[in-house]
């Protein structure tokens, strides 16, 4: 890990360990926005990790952002952190200095189209993460990126399984504050893929926390006169979960590294992102199942910390394309190859 990445990792770990308490997460689900934490994150420059220095950012790589995304998942931080990172990246790419306050991006679903014509935005974006808390939205259209103000569109509240805001934004001829081109080499679909990439890393963070909590519980909880972890049936399940956690980590990191290569113009990173989102979303069910099985009834209570991660996994595996969506995308690509070219093709991919 390079120096910047290590600093990032230490900063987020300290910040989230201190501030993302169970109480804060419960409050957030009861619609009390963690204002203080939100500001602390902004002040630390975490949201500008992908923004160039000359626009007030850090000029970091995607692999630096990965460290943040993983910690967001690990600590189940109830804030639009990865969404702001992507929004700021898109704005900077379009030559627009990211404004103060919270900026998220939309649309976030593959089949939704919003249009930009002569600086005016039209269309509907559903399930936009934290739409209601945004001061601005970076709107992604085939025509380019448009920055709009919160008061200039209508909003309907909605949420995911983990009670994270997922709102509908309607742009009925919304005049943009500024607009610019999509980041070089990117399409609407590859921006959608960036969302999938962030979710892959967040899920990995959540899975790692769940594994540690499960191992801890297995060692602490005594039944039949010995810790649960001494039973072979439990060991087998924990080992299986650990394997999936390791695979998730490898897949997520691969996606971010590929995205950095794509940024340098070497490759199209959609395959690595698709593989990560597929692999990790597929695994979420196994991991949550084993985790709840080991925790027993206490893990099924709202009181216990486990559900903040498991409910997020059940939400995040669907968001920005489920495993079915991305597996279909990969399959479509593979079936364009000759069968005998599968291996030669795979070995050209970055590891």
């Amino acid at each position: 890990m390079n120096e910047l990445r290590q600093i990032m990792a230490d900063t987020v770990e300290k910040l989230f360990s201190d501030q993302v308490t169970k109480n804060l997460k419960e409050q957030a689900e009861a619609a009390v926005f963690p204002e203080k934490l939100s500001q602390a994150i902004a002040e630390n420059g975490l949201l500008h990790v992908l923004v160039p220095e000359n626009m007030g950012g850090v000029s970091g790589q995607f692999a630096d952002a990965e460290v943040i995304a993983r910690a967001v998942g690990r600590h189940a931080v109830p804030l639009p952190i990865v969404e702001q990172i992507i929004a700021n990246y898109l704005l900077a790419g379009a030559g627009i200095t990211p404004p103060d306050g919270i900026t998220v991006f939309a649309p976030v679903r593959e089949n939704e189209t919003v249009h930009l014509k002569d600086g005016v935005v039209t269309g509907t974006a559903t399930r936009v993460p934290w739409g209601r808390k945004a001061d601005h939205v970076a709107v992604v259209t085939e025509e380019g990126i448009a920055l709009v103000k919160a008061e200039d569109y209508s909003l309907t509240e909605n949420q995911n399984i983990a009670a994270e805001p997922r709102d509908t934004l309607e742009f009925k001829g919304t005049k943009s504050l500024a607009s610019g081109n999509l980041p070089s080499g990117m399409t609407v679909h590859s921006i959608f893929a960036l969302g999938a990439m962030m979710r892959a890393s967040q899920m990995t963070g959540a899975i790692e926390w769940i594994l540690e909590a499960s191992v801890q519980y297995a060692n602490d909880r005594v039944q039949f006169g010995r810790p649960l972890g001494k039973f072979q049936a439990i060991q087998q399940n924990m080992a299986e979960m650990a394997g999936h956690a390791a695979a998730a980590g490898a897949a997520a990191l691969g996606a971010f590294q590929a995205a950095d290569l794509a940024e340098e113009g070497d490759i199209d990173s959609t395959f690595e992102i698709a593989a990560a989102k597929t692999r990790i979303s597929e695994t979420a069910g196994v991991v949550t199942s084993h985790a709840h099985q080991i925790h027993g009834a206490i893990g099924f209570t709202y009181e216990h910390d486990l559900h903040f991660r498991t409910r997020r996994l059940w939400s995040w595996r669907d968001e920005f394309g489920s495993d079915s969506y991305w597996a279909d995308w990969i399959g479509g690509h593979i079936l364009e190859l000759e069968a005998d070219d599968l291996w030669p093709w795979l070995t050209t991919r970055p590891t």
Binding site: L211, E212, V215, A218, N219, G229, K230, Q232, I234, Q235, Q236, M238, A239, E240, A242, G243, H244, A246, A247, G249, A250, A251, L253, G254, Q257, F271, E272, A274, A275, A276, T278, R279, E282, D323, S324, W326, A327, D328, W329, I330, G331, G332, I334, L335, L337, A339, D340, L342, W343, P344, L346, T347, R349, P350, T351
Partner: protein, 383 residues
């Protein structure tokens, strides 16, 4: 808390150069090699092919030059193995010697043993098998009973080894046997020996047919079989520690996720003839797993290259890899429109018939799923 380390590695340019060279060689050598034979993967035997590999310098690739090795990196070896497996090359004759017997001798053997044994392996002329399991000792390897009693100039070995793949074709076995009676320390009192399989006195090798009709593995019976002192590997009593290291080599290669790749290739060929959304998505899932396993497997090669112990990570990849390899025939079955058979008209159905039968062994050989998960559980701090 991080339980495992799967740091990413990129294969260096020299590995990719070697890959192209190997690919061209295989393309030429195996032009007419049928798909069903390719699907045997590293169980396919062809001593002539192994000798050609030896001529190319592709056996013992990482070993020291003074024994005839290539002194090349584990990444280059990794790329070589991947290509051999992807093409389904018949590498079975020399595979075990290259993967684990040679490295065991290199690491624990004497200079004399290295000079005597390794050059033959490297030339693709000297083949090895593994003498670990016994009729009453499978997963519980420490319970072995085959013993070596000290006599003038060496040892007399008595006992039975079983599931010894290739013993009937091989020149040597590395056997784990007791040199002291069992004690409270279950892992004490064992030693490894070089067993010269061409020395017939006191040795019986009987092939055992597997459910697919193949005769790969054997029962090997020792009756007062004499082994000279100079054929003991390492010190008396160090056998368990050595065999643990050997198993790490056995479990760390790409063959632990690539055994069913011929079926994946045929499945894609089949899906292109009869495209469906369902098949497309399923193939996408398989490729997502394949790419992830490959990253993890390369990371294990990176651990070998940096001389750190790959045992735990290798167990993780082998466990995930075996599940993946075993899932393949089940998925292929869901998409099949005709019946699988070794005498079917299509490559798809022949390969499917073979892999369906072979797959059950993938989570047995080289350490069962349960043993691997026990190792992983220990890594988690549960045992």
């Amino acid at each position: 808390m991080q339980y495992f380390n799967f740091d990413p590695y990129s294969l260096p340019p020299e590995a990719e150069e070697l890959r192209q060279e190997v690919r061209e060689f295989l393309h030429k050598e195996l032009a007419d090699y049928p798909a069903v034979l390719r699907s045997r993967s590293w169980a396919g035997l062809d001593p002539d092919f192994s000798r050609k590999m030896g001529e190319k310098g592709w056996i013992g690739l990482t070993w020291p030059k003074k024994y005839g090795g290539g002194e090349r990196s584990f990444f280059e070896r990794y790329a070589l193995l991947e290509e051999l497996l992807a093409y389904g090359a018949p590498v079975g004759s020399h595979w075990i010697a290259d993967r684990q017997s040679g490295p065991t001798i290199l690491r624990f053997g004497t200079e004399e043993q290295c000079h005597r044994i390794l050059p033959g392996i490297i030339k693709g002329e000297s083949f090895f098998c593994i003498g670990m399991s016994e009729p009453d000792s499978g997963s519980d390897l420490a319970s072995i009973r085959t013993k070596a009693d000290k006599v003038d100039g060496g040892y007399l070995i008595n006992g039975t080894k079983v599931w010894t793949t290739g013993a009937h074709h091989c020149d040597w076995m590395i056997a784990l046997v007791r040199t002291s009676p069992p004690s409270e320390n279950r892992h004490a009192g064992m030693s490894q020996f070089l067993i010269n399989l061409k020395q017939t006195k006191g040795l019986t090798i009987d092939p055992i047919q597997n459910l697919a009709g193949e005769k790969h593995f054997n029962m090997v019976v020792f009756e007062d079989f004499f082994v000279p002192e100079e054929d003991r590997i390492g010190a008396e009593g160090d056998g368990w520690q050595q065999v643990t290291a050997e198993l790490a080599f056995e479990r760390s290669g790409p063959e632990r996720y690539m055994s069913s790749i011929q079926l994946l290739i045929e499945l894609i060929r089949e899906a292109k003839l009869d495209p469906s959304k369902k098949a497309q998505e399923q193939i996408g899932r398989l490729i997502a797993h394949l790419a992830t396993l490959r990253r993890m497997s390369i990371s294990v090669a990176g651990k070998l290259e940096s001389h750190s112990n790959p045992a735990l990570e290798a167990s993780v990849v082998k466990d995930l890899g075996a599940i993946y390899e075993q899932e393949m025939p089940e998925i292929a079955h869901r998409f099949a429109r005709t019946e699988a058979s070794m005498t079917a008209a299509t490559d798809f159905e022949q390969v499917r018939a073979y892999i369906t039968q072979a797959a059950v062994s993938f989570s047995l050989r080289g350490g069962t799923r349960e043993i691997l998960r026990g190792i992983i559980a220990r890594g988690l701090g549960l045992r």
